[in-house]
Symmetry: C2
Subunit: 126 residues, 2 copies
């Protein structure tokens, strides 16, 4: 198995960038630990470490918006990876947008440039 | 000025992804603090916080490979940004490659898929 420099962070977490394998759009950034890395390699589905829930997170486990990993790139320091993915459900963001990066800096304001694909209230039951 | 959630990290650092504004290639990931964010917005050149040197870092200050920021995307949690850049010198990586993500996971090995643009020894004098 390919080793990453998990010791670079005190918490043993490294950033993983999910990028659409066709369009090149950056969909989201989340964090992986050793277990998430191993599960991603073993299953071909993106797994992360949820810092808010403090647990392993199969992306899409609630929404069904799983990320099928088509390719993985590793950076020069082995402390960041890019998951090139097929995003099922066409939405990576829990706010219903295709990408978490759905706003751009426009002077002193943020302008929405992304497209909303689903209504979060109907997907994440309260 | 657009506010980011710098308090999300204990060190006040957030990840910034540099992406080629034409090709969509992910060039590198580095970290920004409030000062790097302000300097980037004010100058239009990507500034980061160097964790190894513990100082503000104008990307390209040594190599001349400055990143001209064409657009900035902010994520749903305001704790990660994408700098869409024109990479001067055609190389973002200190190892001489266009992108820091110049290797892909190929089974149990990493295969070089990026192109080397310059020789680091000739750019970073010892």
């Amino acid at each position: 198995m390919i080793s990453l420099n998990f010791t670079k962070s005190e918490q043993g977490l490294l950033p993983a960038i999910a990028q659409d394998y066709v369009t090149g759009d950056i969909l989201m950034l989340a964090y992986i630990n050793q277990e998430a890395w191993e599960k991603t390699l073993a299953t071909g589905k993106a797994h992360y470490w949820s810092r808010s829930r403090n647990k392993i997170w199969l992306k899409g486990e609630t929404s069904g918006h799983v990320q099928l990993v088509k390719d993985i790139l590793v950076d020069c320091d082995e402390d960041t990876v890019v998951f090139k993915v097929e995003q099922l459900g066409a939405a990576a963001c829990h706010k219903g947008y295709g990408s978490c990066f759905f706003r751009r800096v426009d002077g002193q304001a943020l302008t929405v440039v992304g497209e909303r694909v689903f209504d979060p209230d109907s997907v994440y039951k309260k």
